[in-house]
């Protein structure tokens, strides 16, 4: 009898605790859902509009559920829409961005890996000072370098060219990639290097055979970081290129600025999405490695 009473009291307390727990869950997930919606609605609107017909947008407004469906805007934005007098769509600019971002990513990542290797495993007098100086580049806003770059690109004859932008992004990116790689390589035991030296391996062989095979986690991080950063970069693209040579971020601005009285919201939406797809793809493919690579040491 007493036992049963006791059990009931316990039950009541237990269920109260459960209710509290349940309520707090509801609040948490409710808030999270609201934030998710705030973030996702603009994307949804843009995706919808890229598939709606322009007259339908004009009639029902920018934010509305689609009543029509076509790929027309995508095709237009890709290859025929007129920006500033040329009617080639975004294709050329999209390719510009690819030809800029891919080599710049690869080069800056490789250079960062080598710098990191030297600064962590082959320290020399002043290497710490050098590293600190390189770190300054991480905190330096890109616009500070606008004038020097203008001067340098002019001297090199690389204005209004993708090569110029590649050069800029490689140099501007080195401080980041060096920081990432150096901090990762510091956690690789020095004994490995010593053992390899006794085994007769030199500077490059140790890099290729021991350091690089241990590097995928951090290389994925730097590649994603560099690629999205370079792809989304806009200032240098606008300042140093024009017209057909512009990367897609700069061309998107031209797209909104150009044109007639009617705003072609459908084409703009499609163009924006075309411009956003590669970084999204990279993140979808490598995102989980990104998080893992940032939190993981080299060797347990």
């Amino acid at each position: 009898m007493a036992d049963a009473a006791l059990a009931r009291v316990h039950d009541r307390e237990a269920s109260a605790a459960f209710r509290r727990h349940f309520l707090s869950r509801v609040v948490i997930y409710g808030l999270l859902s609201i934030f998710a919606i705030i973030y996702l609605v603009p994307l949804l609107v843009v995706v919808f509009n890229s598939f709606r017909e322009q007259p339908e947008i004009a009639q029902n407004g920018l934010i509305a559920f689609p009543r029509s469906f076509s790929f027309h805007a995508w095709a237009d934005a890709w290859s025929t829409y007129c920006i500033g007098g040329t009617c080639e769509g975004m294709r050329r600019n999209f390719l510009n961005s690819l030809w800029m971002a891919i080599p710049a990513t690869i080069l800056s990542t490789l250079l960062g890996a080598m710098n990191g290797y030297v600064l962590s495993k082959w320290r020399f007098k002043g290497s710490e000072v050098l590293f600190t100086l390189m770190l300054l580049g991480v905190f330096m806003p890109g616009q500070i370098a606008l004038m020097p770059w203008a001067f340098l690109l002019g001297k090199l004859g690389l204005t209004n060219s993708t090569y110029g932008l590649i050069l800029i992004h490689v140099v501007q990116g080195i401080s980041f990639t060096t920081l990432f790689c150096r901090n990762y390589y510091v956690s690789i035991p020095d004994d490995l290097i010593k053992a390899a030296r006794i085994d007769g391996a030199g500077f490059w062989r140790i890099f290729r055979k021991i350091i690089l095979p241990l590097s995928p986690p951090i290389l994925i991080v730097t590649v994603i970081w560099q690629f999205t950063g370079i792809w989304n970069e806009y200032l240098f693209g606008v300042v140093f290129t024009s017209g057909r040579e512009q990367p897609i971020t700069a061309a998107l601005v031209a797209l909104t600025a150009s044109g007639t009285n009617v705003r072609a919201y459908d084409v703009m939406s499609a163009a924006v999405l075309i411009g956003a797809l590669p970084p999204l793809l990279v993140y979808f493919l490598g995102g989980k490695y990104f998080v893992r690579g940032l939190t993981q040491g080299a060797i347990k």
Partner: protein, 369 residues
């Protein structure tokens, strides 16, 4: 013929001198242990022999060749690291062949060498695995395999057993000894474990504060330690140090006297020791195993046994033997007893001290007299 000669070797990091004139010579096939507490410079010395640290002053010769500024790969050495330093992305086979590959040894020869070493260390089933899939003991074997495959002039071991658990450490110790017997290569072995040094080495260099305190055969280091540091470092439990005065015993022979519980103890020294004038301050060093329960039969069998009464303060059974802590005046003295005749706590025991093994040290220089 000597295969490793170290002469007056010095090493400084900035203004800090970590090695202060090291002299060591290893004969061909010898097993040298460098032993000492952490920070004594033993690992730095090994790294200098390997060529991983530069030489500040002095010379290192391997064989007849001065190697002070020779690159590690050209010194004809192989090294086993404390952390094993196996290349984590390579299989065991690739780990073992990496060195030969770097030196351009043709593939059939490499395969041959891997086979030989894998058989020697019984690691054939592991050849396809990565280091991450191996246990500590297996990694240890692979690390040794990587060194053995070179067939070098000189093997260097840097505390190779300190990451293993106690049981495995003893097994691997035996195995290293067997291996050394079979391979017969000159070996330098760094350890902070005096038991490892005693069991493995043909000669031990005891290091402290950047200097070699004593370089001799294990038993000699143990029986006749050059100074109080060596005496205290080698052996566990550590040697007892008893401040005493030289005097003349009742039989007219030299003796030592010190304050014991309930009066002054006078212990006759072994014949043939002439430590100096009576009245001189000395430190009497007695190892715990030379302190035991006194009996007239023992005394009859061995004249050098002296006796002394002391209260027992603490008893620690270890199974094979029992450690007793006795009070001599204001000193605590450790003795090792057979469990059958171990003292009880609080008892006052008559101890026998085998004076033939006692050492005398100078209290100011701390050196053996």
């Amino acid at each position: 013929m000597s295969s490793l000669t170290i002469r007056n070797l010095r090493k400084s990091f900035g203004s800090v001198e970590v090695l202060k004139g090291i002299n060591i010579e290893a004969r061909t096939g010898e097993f040298i242990a460098l032993v000492g507490p952490s920070g004594c410079g033993k690992s730095t010395l090994l790294a200098m022999i390997a060529g991983l640290e530069t030489v500040t002053e002095g010379e290192i010769r391997i064989g007849d060749r001065l190697v002070n500024s020779v690159a590690p790969k050209d010194r004809d050495i192989a090294m086993v690291f404390q952390s094993y330093a196996l290349y984590p992305t390579m299989t065991v086979r690739e780990n073992i062949t990496f060195g030969m590959e770097s030196r351009g040894v043709p593939k059939p020869q490499r395969e041959e060498a891997v086979k030989r070493v894998a058989a020697l260390l019984q690691i054939e089933p592991l050849l396809g695995r990565k280091p991450g899939q191996l246990s500590g003991g297996q990694r240890q074997r692979v690390a040794m395999g990587r060194a053995l495959v070179r067939d070098p002039k000189l093997f260097l071991f840097d505390e190779p057993l300190s990451n293993l658990d106690a049981k495995l450490r003893v097994d691997m110790r035996t195995e290293i000894k067997k291996l050394h017997h079979r391979v017969g290569k000159t070996t330098v072995y760094v350890t902070h474990d005096q038991v490892e040094a005693m069991t493995l080495a043909s000669r031990i260099a005891v290091m402290h504060q950047g200097q070699v305190q004593q370089f001799d055969e294990p038993q000699a280091v143990y029986d006749r330690p050059a100074n109080m540091f060596v005496a205290g470092f080698m052996g566990s439990p550590a040697m007892n140090f008893i401040p005493a005065k030289l005097t003349t015993g009742p039989d007219g022979k030299p003796a030592v006297s010190f304050k014991a519980t309930g009066g002054t103890a006078v212990l006759s020294l072994q014949d043939g020791i002439s430590p100096g004038a009576a009245g001189r301050d000395v430190i009497l060093g007695v190892r715990p195993e030379h302190i035991f329960r006194y009996s007239p039969e023992l005394k009859a069998a061995k004249k050098s046994i002296a006796s002394i009464d002391a209260p027992v303060e603490m008893v620690e059974p270890t199974g094979a033997e029992t450690i007793g802590l006795m009070r001599f005046g204001d000193l605590e003295v450790t003795g090792r007893f057979d469990p059958d005749e171990a003292p009880r706590m609080g008892e006052t025991i008559t101890l026998g001290i085998d004076m033939s093994h006692a050492c005398l040290f100078d209290p100011t220089t701390r050196n053996l007299i």
